[in-house]
């Protein structure tokens, strides 16, 4: 059987990470071809709905990439993205998708090598995790969850503690 080629959606902010990714190209840095980049103006623009939609439609991994803290083009969009990432992680766990499949990273417009390394590392991680099970086999089947019995009570408590 051929190697598992995961589908990874990447939300890249226009000012830092998208530019860093462009620079990786200019420098001819090689990384796995699994990332499907989506340009956004700011990591703070990435609604959790988009991340969830990606997973529910069957993405094997999602990366959100923004500017380093303190370097956001819009002052604090990345800190908002970080706050949302914490919630996204909890929700993923709750609905039975391994939160390791989601990742938030800071990449400056100069850090082409960091971009290439992180994408490589994340792709390998997802390859090890295998296909994400909510990926519809055909349109009729209901999504299957990786974790059949999430300890929902415990998770909800976590949510409360972290979000307040």
């Amino acid at each position: 059987m051929s190697r598992f080629e995961p589908v990874i959606i990447g939300f890249l902010c226009n000012w830092c990470s998208y530019t860093g990714a462009d620079l990786a190209g200019v420098a001819r840095l090689q990384y796995p071809p699994n990332l499907r980049p989506i340009r956004v103006m700011c990591s703070g623009m990435v609604s959790p709905d988009l991340v969830m939609e990606a997973f529910l439609k069957g993405a094997d991994g999602v990366m959100v990439m923004g500017c380093h803290p303190g370097e956001c083009h819009y002052l604090e969009g990345n800190t908002k993205a970080a706050a949302r990432a914490r919630v996204i992680t909890l929700v993923l766990d709750d609905i039975g998708i391994n939160p390791d499949r989601f990742r938030l990273n800071w990449i400056s417009s100069a850090e082409a090598s960091v971009f290439a390394e992180l994408v490589t590392e994340f792709t390998i991680r997802i390859q090890k995790l295998g296909p994400q099970q909510t990926r519809p086999q055909n349109s009729d089947t209901e999504p299957k969850h990786e974790m059949q019995n999430p300890k929902s009570g415990e998770k909800q408590r976590d949510l409360k503690n972290n979000v307040t």
Partner: protein, 603 residues
């Protein structure tokens, strides 16, 4: 970039009389109305010579794109950005009545604007184009795996086609430009900026918080190249005061700022009075200051001094240098340590120059410079060599083994371990000079007023250190001098000219276009106000219903002048009540879904 921009200021000054005489105004044909028309997409796949086609099977991508929904026309170009290809794209848009275009080529960061113009030339709104970045983020980074790269290129094209189907025409508002500059800080940098602008025909308001112009330069005797500073400064002040295009306000502070690029309004406190000003751009030239040391008996003994006070009280008073026997300098005082990690760049040169001045005034004076790393960078290396030739003794120390300074009956003793001789050296200087470095002024209020940020050391940072060194992150705001980072006077002057030229480019236009990528309110907004607090630019407010018009809905109101289009509001709103043009929920969702759907068929 800074130097080049400063040189451009000089060239513009020479050309000012002829400026604009040979300009041809670019015009675009009237836009076709496409509202209500179903998406008809043209896909242009670029080979970029062999940059793309060397890895990606371009023919397969073309073939794949042709069968995607809404796609009416596909072609491959050798270089989509070439003049020929542009013509061809325009012709195809007309022939096939395309109302949306996907360019699968390089990065939108460099070429989107160009292709937007192509569309406008074909009577389409510029925002009906999307780019699929199959070069920088594909062929260049997957050179060894053509099959996967081709598959990824198909996915990228599919995602772009899916998004562009949701694109709609956007408008850019025209903003009238107030042809006046606010310059904050009346030091040499502020004055040079004002004079450069005056030479280019732009008026400025020079605001200085102290009683006199001159800033830090008032404390300098000579600049690094050795010329005396005072005559130059006098001349500068005279020219600034004489120029009708410069309004000087001393003892003035900026209290409040509103507006945005091209159209700022500010309140000034000038002595006891208030003044209202309007300006189209502003230059921050607030300088910085010498750090006050907290080590080596500073403040306890009058002969332990900082560099500037030594210059003022001893070095340039000839009668004093006649009687001195020994002087020691300690470099990096309080610098390059965890509390203040940066190098101030100018203190090494300053000390070396002071040492040369001492030696030249009286060669019998023993001069020691105790340093961690000597940084007489660039052409200042010459000074270091001269100092050594004149017999100045340089002794290195490490941050773990700093010199020890003691005092008995008024006599200073500096103990330091010389790493070359491997013995402890005792120096008994008449004066001990501490090179304490540069610290930022308290810029927080100014930064808050204009809504930009300082770095962790309190300095202003350019929008891009290499490409936009004198632009601040907010459009219409610029910086120059040591409020940016410590630098010698000549570099500061260069930045002053560069900042002036950046302002000139902006203010020489009668009107500018606003960005189209801004937030808008949808019918889903119920006025819950969740988005208001997260907006970093305070662009959102709540609008109460107008009872006289029998409205009953509370809605959020956007100030388009303040909105920067970041979309933090859009991601916060879970009702899709606020979105950003060009990056709406339907557009991004379409991309997400397209990235996953159809994976199999693109294999």
């Amino acid at each position: 970039m800074g130097q080049a921009t400063a040189a451009a200021a000089g060239a513009s000054r020479l050309l000012i009389k002829k400026r604009g005489t040979q300009v041809k105004k670019k015009g675009f044909p009237k836009e076709r109305i496409i509202v209500g028309k179903t998406p008809t997409v043209g896909v242009f796949v670029c080979s970029c010579g062999v940059n793309i086609s060397g890895t990606v099977d371009v023919d397969k991508v073309v073939e794949y794109a042709a069968q995607l929904p809404d796609v009416a026309y596909v072609e491959n170009n050798l270089f989509s950005c070439s003049v020929d290809a542009q013509e061809s794209i325009i012709q195809k848009i007309i022939d096939f009545k395309l109302n949306r275009v996907v360019i699968a080529a390089c990065t939108p960061r460099t070429h989107e604007r160009m292709f937007q113009e192509t569309l406008r030339n074909a009577r389409l709104n510029g925002f009906m184009v999307e780019m699929a970045n199959i070069r920088n983020q594909n062929s260049w980074v997957h050179q060894k795996d053509g099959i996967s790269a081709t598959r990824k290129a198909k996915d990228q094209v599919r995602m772009a086609v899916a998004k562009v189907a949701h694109n709609y025409p956007l408008r850019q508002d025209r903003i009238h430009v107030v042809k006046k500059t606010l310059i904050v800080g009346g030091g040499v940098v502020g004055m040079v900026s004002a004079l450069t602008l005056a030479g280019l025909g732009i008026e400025s308001i020079l605001v200085e918080q102290s009683e006199i112009l001159g800033g830090n330069t008032l404390k300098l005797e000579t600049c690094f190249k050795g010329q005396r500073v005072a005559p130059m400064l006098e001349d500068l002040i005279k020219r600034v005061n004489k120029d009708k295009r410069i309004r000087v306000l001393t003892q003035a502070n900026l209290v409040y700022v509103a507006g945005s690029v091209g159209n700022f309004q500010g309140h000034l406190q000038v002595r006891s009075k208030e003044a209202f000003i309007e300006f189209g751009a502003a230059i921050m030239a607030t300088g910085a200051k010498e750090a006050i040391p907290s080590e080596y008996l500073y403040g306890k003994l009058s002969n332990v001094m900082t560099q500037l006070s030594f210059d003022e009280n001893v070095l340039y008073k000839n009668e004093k240098t006649n009687t001195i026997k020994c002087v020691a300098f300690i470099q990096c005082v309080g610098s390059r340590e965890p509390e203040r990690p940066y190098c101030s760049r100018i203190c090494c040169i300053h000390s070396v120059r002071a040492a040369i001045t001492l030696k030249k005034a009286n060669s019998k004076i023993k001069v020691y410079i105790l340093y961690r790393d000597m940084r007489t960078y660039g052409e200042w290396e010459e000074h270091y060599k001269t100092a050594r030739d004149l017999g100045v003794v340089f002794i290195r120390y490490t941050v773990d083994h700093k010199p020890k300074v003691t005092e008995i009956a008024g006599q200073l003793t500096v103990k330091i371990k010389d790493p070359l001789l491997d013995i402890e050296v005792k120096i008994k200087p008449d004066y001990l000079i501490l090179s304490s470095g540069v610290v930022a002024n308290d810029n927080k209020k100014l930064a808050d007023n204009f809504k930009f940020t300082t770095n962790e050391d309190g300095f202003f940072t350019g929008a891009h250190p290499k490409l936009k060194p004198v632009d601040l992150s907010i459009a219409g705001l610029f910086l120059a001098g040591i409020c940016n980072y410590p630098k010698p006077l000549d570099e500061s002057i260069e930045q002053a000219k560069a900042a002036a030229h950046r302002v000139f480019i902006l203010l020489s236009q009668n009107e500018i276009k606003s960005e189209a990528i801004k937030a808008f309110i949808t019918d889903q907004c119920d006025g819950c106000a969740l988005c208001i607090d997260v907006c970093p630019f305070h662009a959102l407010s709540i609008q109460m219903p107008d009872k006289t018009k029998s409205e009953n809905r509370v809605r959020v109101l956007i100030d388009p002048a303040l909105c920067q289009g970041c979309g933090i509001c859009a991601a916060t709103c879970h009702k899709d009540g606020i979105m950003v043009h060009g990056f709406t929920k339907p557009q991004l969702m379409a991309q997400v879904r397209a990235a996953i759907n159809g994976m199999e068929e693109s294999c």
